[in-house]
Symmetry: C2
Subunit: 346 residues, 2 copies
């Protein structure tokens, strides 16, 4: 192993509002330790996932459930990487792995951390793009698949509403629901995205939540009310959905992106709706589905992708140089599809 410099995207300072590339996160080059201890591996990173929850990891919050990033240290998230050195019998050099990679050219993985990596079998002959393993076949996909299965109680003929519907999680949720015979309504933040939902993903209805009134849109697109709301946003969207939900309606509370960047939270004034209508609001975290559902998920969704029943759009930023902007943009809706940084070619 000859490389000894390692380009990274690191945390520069803790933001309070929307992060700014160059101020709160930016590119930095450091020295790479290529000398492995027993059970360690060295990775060459190919793709890393650009996720909303990483915004929370930029905060200075020692009590956070998911530990925050340290100043001067690289971001990390789901990644697809090539093993280029190994002292760990689970990994041969040349294997393609998925696990929590640094936002950097190379990641030196400790023995303890190596447990979190898994080999993608047949990766070099894969019929799906390798980036899928951190998107539709990775944690964003499992989030949708696992939570619908565990808490959605989907029934043919019911109506589901999905916010942030063209994003990493939303795209899959809508298509899974459609395949189970539900009426699928989505919203997104641009007319292009709305068109994608209708034309490509075959949603039954879709609207741009930045235009017009959300409640009016829901009432007109869901004349029989909603049975399920898959919530990635919180605030006004959740408030509107509660009005329109039917008896025994379910809210899968997946994300609350409307407040991730220090925005003032919109106070929800109609929670009494849950009582008479016996609504369930269920907070979910993808980690809870790994053990029981990951294998089922990869089999089922993998099959749908090969069949063409499900399609999946990615928005790939080329190179670490463009990664910070890709992340900041994603938080504002600049991504069209699942946001990914491509660090290197295989």
């Amino acid at each position: 192993m000859v490389h000894s410099s390692n380009k990274q995207i690191v945390l520069l300072s803790h933001p309070t509002g929307f992060p700014i590339a160059g101020e709160h996160l930016g590119v930095h080059t450091t020295q790479l330790n290529t000398i492995l201890e027993e059970d360690e591996i060295l990775l060459r990173n190919l793709f890393v996932s650009v996720d909303p929850y990483l915004r929370g990891r930029m905060n200075d919050d020692k009590e956070a459930v998911i530990p925050g990033f340290e100043i001067g240290k690289p971001f990390s998230s789901g990644g697809v990487s090539e093993v280029i050195q190994s002292r760990n019998p689970r990994f041969t050099v040349g294997a393609i792995v998925v696990g929590e990679a640094g936002w950097e050219e190379y990641t030196h993985v400790t023995a303890a951390a190596s447990d979190g990596f898994n080999v993608i079998e047949g990766a070099r002959e894969s019929k799906v793009p390798l980036s899928s393993y951190i998107g539709v076949l990775g944690f964003p996909g499992l989030t949708g698949y696992g939570s619908l299965k565990a808490f959605g109680q989907l029934k043919k003929g019911e109506t589901i509403y999905i916010s942030a519907a063209s994003g990493a999680v939303g795209q899959l949720v809508g298509q899974l629901a459609r395949l189970q015979g539900l009426r699928v309504i989505g919203s997104a933040g641009s007319d292009d995205k709305v068109e994608y939902l209708l034309k490509e993903l075959k949603f039954d209805a879709a609207f741009n939540y930045k235009k017009g009134d959300i409640l009016e849109n829901l009432r007109s697109h869901a004349p029989n009310g909603l049975d399920i709301y898959f919530d990635s946003v919180g605030g006004r969207q959740l408030e509107a959905a509660l009005e329109v939900l039917n008896l025994y309606g379910r809210v899968i509370a997946c994300g609350h992106i409307s407040v991730y960047n220090g925005q003032e939270s919109h106070g929800i004034r109609n929670l009494y709706q849950v009582i008479g209508k016996r609504i369930t609001i269920r907070g979910i975290l993808v980690n809870d589905f790994v053990q029981d559902e990951f294998a089922n998920f990869q089999r089922d969704v993998g099959q749908h992708l090969l069949n063409g029943d499900i399609i999946y759009r990615e928005d790939i930023a080329e190179g670490l140089e463009n990664g910070a902007e890709a992340f900041v943009g994603m938080l504002k809706g600049a991504n069209f599809g699942k946001a990914v940084i491509k660090i290197a070619d295989l």
Copy 2:
């Protein structure tokens, strides 16, 4: 049957805020039709239940899930009554029944409505007061018992918080949780009620929610956080509980009395708490527990009452003349225990 006049508490007009006795509801005397058709019964009412949800039935809302009262017509709610005439083979004269009675001396029950009445077996020798059948052994009790059983997932050593804890539902919920080995925290709106919770009901902690900060009170009384919040209030209480709830915490959303009288709803700004902590908020309605749980409920709670494991305080207004004030007072917390109107002696 000689009586032909019938005193009633009727709806006078639709309130927007707190109802006023004499303006929105009041006593009125009408003529009683004592001539029964087939399957009809005539009741002499002994007790009727004074419930928060009746406030909703005073509104002019044609779309309400539970139909509203009509102007000039009597209120109705759970009642204990004596059958004084019967053309229905299910009811003999002299039977004591429970069902939806009018707030009036006598109720002429149609054939269709008679299905909603059940005979209290052994009522004349009952070891519990007859009013129990619309309180701790009636719908308020079933609300607590059924919802804890269906959605509480109570585990020994967990902590539960109960708002409106000295009321009809709250008293039983706290005692059932205590009997299952939970740490029980309650709040109520006066120091007397707080003392009752601590001294009589043996709650582990209790506070007056009108004094001091609710969140600070919860943090100090629940040093290990909350596992269950039994919510009768909504608004600020729910917001505070969400902060303090633990991983996999449960909210049983039973009532939202903080907005029943047209008060401005407190917007809840921290619903994002449900995601990372995987909290479930479950709206419930007592009617859902009747079929599967009513018999278990009456057996279990009946046994606890006889054992003295559970006690139950009632606040009995004497006579229909005092009924309107009792109802209005209950909405403001003037009741100390389950509010009931006693219409007549057996």
